[in-house]
Symmetry: C2
Subunit: 113 residues, 2 copies
Amino acid sequence: MAARGLRPVATQEAAPLFAALGDETRLQLLARLCSGGPLSITGLSRTSAVSRQAITKHLDVLSGAGLVRSRRHGRERIWELEPARLDDAHQYLAGISRQWDEALGRLKSFVER
Amino acid sequence: MAARGLRPVATQEAAPLFAALGDETRLQLLARLCSGGPLSITGLSRTSAVSRQAITKHLDVLSGAGLVRSRRHGRERIWELEPARLDDAHQYLAGISRQWDEALGRLKSFVER
DNA sequence: GGAAGGTGCAACCTCTTGGTTGCGTTTCGT
DNA sequence: ACGAAACGCAACCAAGAGGTTGCACCTTCC
């Protein structure tokens, strides 16, 4: 439980979050987990161009950022999305956008005076 | 003008966008440009721990992702925020979140039947 | 029990990244 | 005109990221 509620996300924890999102293969993994539901490693690497071990590494990165979670099921490891962290990144960007709009508003009212 | 309106942002162009956001120094630069308004390179590097050239590289990365823009003003180069790209990243995350909620909704209604 | 499927682990390689230093060039101020 | 400020460019370096191959280990299924 790294972040919850309405507490603003700090840049210190937002950076590794965005870094985990900053790879096309990982974004495709997220998209696949998102639309297709939980999947095993082999299931995820079946549609990908890179090897199974590369997929494992990417999943570890996503897991380290708290974006996905895994559980064992027999000889398979099933991965699924962790939507709370997506919201964290979401809120961080929203915070910057809001701050920028406020800055523009202040500038505008300053010019008008 | 890489993205505008309500067109969904593709993973192919979202990845380098998030990659540019995935560094703490760059996030701090954005935050400073956001709250403090347009600033020169030296002005930005004054509060940072790393060298001016490192700041220049980071600004180039942000510029390459379309997140900031610069203009010459005498012997200075002034950098300012480009809020449209922030919205792109914002909308991409919103799209994933929405898709995930829909998937959960489908799963729920399937289980209940 | 034995073969096949699904993972985990480790070594290795290459290219990128973030950072530095050094130096040359343009512009401002006096 | 001349020193100082702001910047651009290039070389260089260490560390990390992304990828691969090879092999061992545990389940599952017949």
